[in-house]
Symmetry: C2
């Protein structure tokens, strides 16, 4: 064993012999930080002269490198993830840990590359809002764990992956919101933000599968919408569900299509901010008044929703809490205190404003 050999020279001795500072020697021999070529060679020469060997070097490698967490999110430009990252980094800073964030823009290949970078950069743990839909496509997450890097999922669970995941009550939140619309007397409720498929599936099972296969949260929210219809003993109508590109522009197109139906919706449930603004564009274009001619409940509250005319009733996600909880679960794993993998579900808040009213008479 390496421990049986005589004690090798210290970094300070190498530094002195090289005529450089200890930190320069530590960086050169530890393999972190930047050291200019000439200084590097002087240090390596001295290390060589003094017989400074790899094992001592290995020990030095663990010194001086600051503790870091890696966070992989779908889109940093989405205020939802901005809040989650803020929550994670606040919790990390409280432990003196820095947070490195990478954005994948929902591209699994980018997520794999980001994971490899974080492994390369020797982060102490990873929080990821994964685009992987099952264990089969989550090999990169398994690899990080195989290398001893704890991983916690946030915002989305990954089916078949036995990992802690911190999510919100998507299905219950959607079920509750749609139930409020039905309780207000609405019988035709549009669901804005469906699966990105060309052709509209007629069967609900197929619709849910397509949504869930695109994004876990989409499937959960659509399921909640269907739960509410079931609770009220109401039939499902595929024409009231948006399908196609998940963009503000297409949400407008789909809501205008719904307004043209023989029996158009009297209420809309929008499960993303872009779904809300897209729907509002459609309603404005058709002169349909929110909170009067049509009711609307949206997902992801923002300061804008409160100053709309009328102020919009929204579902608020606890973005900061999602982040801080994910960080806590990760730190428990880093400290070796974590138990069996759990699904940590945080509650959303229903913020009642003025965009829900009874359906117009007649």
């Amino acid at each position: 064993m390496t421990s049986e050999r005589s004690v090798p020279p210290t970094i300070s001795e190498v530094a002195a012999a090289a005529g450089v500072g200890r930190s320069t020697a530590a960086r050169t021999l530890g393999g972190y930080g930047y050291v200019g070529q000439e200084l590097r060679e002087r240090v390596l020469e001295a290390a060589d002269r003094l017989g400074y060997r790899a094992n001592a070097l290995a020990r030095s490698m663990s010194t001086g490198v600051s503790q870091t967490l890696g966070v992989i999110v779908a889109d940093i430009a989405n205020p939802f993830f901005g809040g989650v990252v803020r929550g994670i980094s606040d919790a990390a800073k409280a432990r003196g840990v820095e947070t490195l964030v990478l954005s994948t823009y929902e591209d699994l290949a980018e997520e794999i590359a980001a994971t490899n970078v974080l492994i390369d950069k020797r982060v102490d743990g990873i929080v990821v809002a994964s685009a992987a839909l099952d264990a089969a496509s989550a090999g990169h997450i398994q690899e990080a764990r195989d290398r001893g890097i704890p991983v916690v999922l946030v915002d989305r669970a990954v089916t078949g992956l036995h990992l802690d995941a911190v999510v919100i009550d998507n299905r219950d939140a959607a079920r509750g919101a749609v139930t409020r619309l039905l309780d207000a007397g609405h019988r035709r409720v549009g669901f804005v933000w469906g699966p990105p498929v060309e052709e509209r599936p007629r069967r609900r099972r197929e619709l849910i599968d397509l949504a869930a296969r695109n994004l876990w949260t989409d499937g959960e929210r659509l399921q909640g919408y269907l739960d509410a219809l079931d609770d009220a003993g109401m039939a499902f109508d595929a024409d009231l569900v948006m399908v196609g590109a998940k963009t503000e522009e297409h949400a407008q197109v789909e809501v205008e299509r719904m307004l043209d139906l023989e029996s158009p919706p009297t209420a809309l449930f929008c499960t993303e901010n872009d779904a809300v603004t897209g729907a509002l564009r459609a309603l404005r274009a058709r002169g349909v008044r929110v909170g009067a001619d049509i009711s609307l409940i949206g997902f992801d509250d923002s300061s804008w929703a409160a100053v709309m005319e009328p102020p919009l009733t929204m579902i608020e996600q606890p973005t900061l809490a999602l982040g801080t909880r994910a960080a806590e679960v990760l730190f428990a794993a880093i400290d070796g205190e974590s138990g069996a993998a759990e699904l940590h579900t945080l509650k959303t808040r229903y913020i009642e404003r003025s965009s829900v009213a009874p359906p117009p008479a007649g």
Copy 2:
């Protein structure tokens, strides 16, 4: 010189002797990535046996680590920075470079810690929206450059620091927007988002200094507001400038204060999204109608502004372009192709909607 010694064994030879894969040997000897304790010791033992020395080790350190950029922004949760980061990472991906993002929440101490982490993690370059106001408080940026890591500033210039900076035309944009309000006949234009000071300075020079000392862009935008007043030969009134906490809540308080003035503003220029929503809260609370009783122009267009009633006239910042340009300038520096430090100024876009009207008669 090291080159005069006999050629040391290769990593592959060490790997073979240790009975591990080449990548495991490379990670152990290169000091990057994670290697389990037992494998690590086997590799180090073999390296030792074969006389694998630090100089060979040093060469191996430069291999296998993916290229990365570091980006330090004020607040990742701010969609403006989300767009900038998206622009940077798109440009980086095009070169096969990954982007690591850190958020400082406008805390200079956090910015220094973030810079040190990026130096530790051996990024190839850094883009920073710095909270430093002058060269004296930018020692950390100088340190990164001293270590051979190119740095490019984005969103804010740092006085006295000879560095490339990619910014928008803050002063011209503000001057142009306020001029449009004056051209529409307004004589009392409120400026929403001032310096975070308790007491309201009466002298304009002091006001600008305080704003600029808090944030470079704030000073530029306030200066543009004053330029427009000067162009129109109009007197400056300190009561029409918000001071105090830079929050949506306080913006509401300050706008309500302006509405209570003996001669209240007939138009508002809001230089941040939170200033816009705060002002709208105040106007709603007082029953003042935007685009009729009062005109409003805001900074940072968002999809929400377009669906407001009435749709808001806004100044759009080229967030993606700010990011891509910053990345291009940084890559030029990394490739050693950069010349003298420049201030790269990108143009904003004035998006005319329906929130500007002539002042109400009488």
